[in-house]
């Protein structure tokens, strides 16, 4: 009936800029939402089998999720942490609570073993029976307020709850074989954890349940018979915070195939929806509902950081503009979603554009949710193809990094920073190359600079020479040649910005990854660490149903 409209994927040079990656929002394909859809769809069963915590808040608890084939247990240890030891930094050595995800159901010997190690976090060891290791600290502000209120028999103040959003925030959640845990290979082919970070998301989701139980327990210890439980609707609004530092930034550079798959999947979902020629009234209603509820979420989103404050102001203005535009927008035009997307490119900030693109996916679960199975990296490592001609390697590098050749790499500002790892808990850090003694320890996290250097050497070789010949003479370009060859099958794998310039904002990299987790309310605390909220609004495990699993991330759901 209508003329076909060819909608292309947005090109990497548009999508992979740091400022845009730093403006991404959660969507249907975020890892938390993938997880909860599966748990609800497969009718997973949940139980709290142990809650052995004293009136000081010290002890342990076990929460188990039973799926169709396997079970997974969160083993939680609660501690009485002196205030002066509470820090979200990686260099902390004690926490309010520590956790391990156990593969199956732990027995008494497992719990005993874990009790000797999990509270120590990096200084302990877990085993191949454990899938992740994590910890959390209380939000001092909200924890005190909520325990006091509940102990006195009243509900906590809504405004205070909304201001903070969570009772505890996690810091590191370590998976994939770290500190002795099981390798990713052990579970990668299980359908329930095949998509990225499903174990880690499950760990955080069960942690949220534990935290609710713990705060109610502490209120009962304090208030006795007077104490009340959290009202279900208030509890529902609570998320789990997370405080994330630079450790996440190298991940994006070190996993180009994974990043490519995440971005490609979201872009393909957007492309599919933009290609729809006609929207039904129900689909338009769903979109408008999620948009209206996003406005509530954005209104609650607070940040004290100047950069994020400016971005939030722009986003709020964007939402006003969008609202004005939609007042007269005719959804009966052909390709209405593409029309909206094109309009947004011309008129909204990157925050607003990306929020709109995430929102237009909402009515189309049947069309886009299946893409979740394409987000893992199942490709395995491929050896460098040494027979590839030099000209082809150069072409691949040019395709990703042509923009970087026009930068002046002799200018100190262009390479002002150096990524390094401190011997202190092996924490990744970002230093000033020309002011601190860190260059000798520099990590290979400047692909653009390295690509320009490799191109300069490669161009001295004959076009048809095998790159193997070059690598014999120039082992220093080996990682760059590998990335070039990976980029042939992972076009969205490289960030199209300089990751060591004096202007680089590491939080943009953190935000990109966290948006794929499904985080909301990004609150940068500096240019290199950020707080977020996870699972706010989500049904608790025993409340999960087909009806509430789809739209929980948007506040104000009908009860």
């Amino acid at each position: 009936m209508t003329e076909p409209r060819q909608i292309a994927l947005r090109p990497p040079e548009t999508v992979m800029r740091l400022s845009r990656l730093g403006s991404l929002h959660q969507c249907r394909l975020s890892f938390m939402r993938i997880l909860l859809r599966r748990l609800a769809g497969e009718a997973w069963r949940f139980e709290r089998s142990v809650f052995d915590i004293d009136d000081k808040g010290v002890g342990h608890a076990v929460y188990t999720a039973h799926g169709p084939e396997r079970s997974y247990s969160l083993v939680a240890f609660a501690h009485d942490l002196p205030a002066e030891l509470r820090s979200d930094r990686v260099i902390a050595e004690a926490w309010d609570a520590t956790f391990a995800m156990f593969d199956g159901v732990p027995d008494a010997a497992d719990i005993e073993r874990l009790s000797q190690n999990v509270p120590l976090q990096e200084a302990g060891r877990v085993s191949e029976k454990e899938l992740s290791l994590s910890r959390a600290n209380r939000s001092v502000r909200l924890w005190a307020h909520v325990t006091e209120a509940l102990a006195e028999g009243r509900q906590p103040d809504r405004g205070t709850m909304d201001d903070v959003g969570y009772l505890m925030r996690t810091t590191a959640v370590y998976g994939s074989g770290k500190f002795g845990a099981a390798d990713r290979d052990k579970v990668a082919q299980r359908p329930e954890v095949h998509a990225p970070f499903q174990v880690e998301m499950m760990s955080v989701y069960l942690t949220r349940w534990f935290v609710r139980d713990l705060v109610e327990h502490m209120a009962r210890c304090k208030g006795g018979a007077k104490a009340v439980a959290l009202a279900p609707d208030i509890a529902r609004g609570l998320g789990i915070g997370n405080s994330t530092g630079l450790g996440m930034a190298p991940f994006l550079i070190n996993h180009p195939v994974l990043v490519n798959n995440w971005i490609t999947v979201r872009e393909e979902a957007i492309r599919r929806v933009r290609a729809i020629s006609n929207a039904t009234p129900e689909e338009v209603l769903t979109f408008k509902d999620r948009l209206a509820r996003s406005e509530i979420s954005v209104a609650r989103w607070q940040s004290a950081h100047e950069i994020q404050k400016a971005k939030l102001a722009a986003l709020r203005a964007d939402l006003d503009d969008l609202s004005t535009h939609l007042a007269t927008f005719d959804f009966d035009v052909t390709h209405p979603w593409d029309e909206l997307a094109v309009w947004a490119e011309g008129g909204l900030s990157e925050e607003g554009q990306e929020m709109l693109l995430s929102l237009i996916l909402e009515p189309y679960g049947a069309l886009v949710d299946g893409l979740a199975s394409c987000m893992a990296d199942d490709s395995g490592r491929e050896a460098i193809d040494g027979a590839m001609p030099v000209a082809e390697v150069c072409a691949l590098l040019e395709r990703q990094f042509a923009w970087a050749r026009s930068l002046d790499w002799s200018d100190k500002k262009t390479c002002a920073r150096a990524w390094y790892v401190s011997e202190e808990k092996l924490e990744p850090r970002l230093g000033e190359r020309f002011e601190e003694p860190v260059e000798d320890y520099e990590q290979p996290l400047a692909p653009a600079r390295d690509a320009v250097a490799a191109l300069s050497d490669l161009e001295g070789w004959a076009d048809e020479a095998a790159v193997a010949e070059v690598l014999l003479k120039h082992p220093e370009h080996r990682h760059t040649v590998r990335r070039a060859q990976i980029s042939a099958r992972a076009p969205y794998g490289e960030i199209r910005d300089n990751t060591i310039s004096d202007q680089v904002m590491p939080i943009d990299m953190l935000r990109a990854k966290l948006s794929f987790f499904g985080a909301t309310h990004f609150d940068p605390r500096s240019d290199r660490w950020v707080r977020i909220c996870m699972f706010a609004g989500a049904p608790y495990p025993t409340e999960l149903s087909a009806e509430n699993v789809d739209d929980w991330v948007y506040p104000g759901a009908p009860e």
């Binding site: 630079l246 601190e436 082992p475 220093e476 080996r478 040649v481």
Partner: protein, 208 residues
């Protein structure tokens, strides 16, 4: 102590970098060590020995001519030689590749597996005191492959013997793990108060 393969790879990569490898070559060392451990061959011991061999010396450049990978003097680093073997995989179709004087030839096996995958048939690696047959995902070894070999010949073809059964975890000796750890430590910047505050962007309250 058992360690995960992820830990092996991360440790081996850092150790190789600490010993002076270029980053891309350190990645090869990490992957190769993991490949060996996953096949129940002691990759950590092999890498620890190889790194001690080159400790403090400049890594010797390798040349490849007429089917021979060689260094001007001394023993070739097996990771660098292996990477070259892998990069020139297609040449094995023309005839054997010879390597003179390789330290710890066990580390060649993962790279021979790359070649096997590339040319679509098994690869035989023969040294003074050992013979190994390698496929893309398996290796069988007879004899002592952990020592320096005066010459190694790599040929296409061969029949896999009793392949080492896969391992679920790595079990490095404490001594080898500590050796790798010492090399890895060279990649860490010393902790300073300035770095602690500035480098990780702290400075605002994180206890609220």
């Amino acid at each position: 102590m058992t360690v995960s393969f992820n830990e092996v790879e991360a440790m081996a990569k850092k150790a190789a970098r600490g010993a002076g490898y270029a980053w891309g070559m350190a990645e090869e060392a990490g992957w190769a060590t993991r490949w060996l451990c996953a096949r129940d061959l002691d990759g950590c011991a092999a890498l620890a020995m190889a790194l001690q061999e080159i400790n403090g010396t400049k890594i010797r450049p390798i040349s490849f001519e007429n089917g021979e990978l060689r260094v001007a003097e001394g023993a070739a680093c097996p990771v660098h030689a292996g990477a070259a073997l892998s990069d020139f995989a297609a040449d094995l179709r023309q005839g054997p590749v010879r390597l003179s004087h390789v330290a710890v030839p066990m580390l060649l096996l993962p790279f021979a597996a790359n070649v096997a995958r590339r040319i679509g048939e098994p690869v035989t690696v023969r040294g003074n005191a050992f013979e190994a047959v390698v496929q893309a995902d398996a290796a069988s070894v007879t004899g002592d492959i952990a020592v320096v070999s005066d010459s190694v010949v790599v040929t296409s073809g061969g029949t896999l013997g009793d392949a080492a059964s896969g391992a679920a975890r790595a079990t490095p000796t404490k001594a080898d793990w500590a050796t790798l750890g010492e090399f890895a430590h060279r990649t860490y910047a010393p902790a300073t108060e300035a770095s602690r505050l500035k480098g990780a962007g702290a400075g605002t309250n994180d206890n609220d």
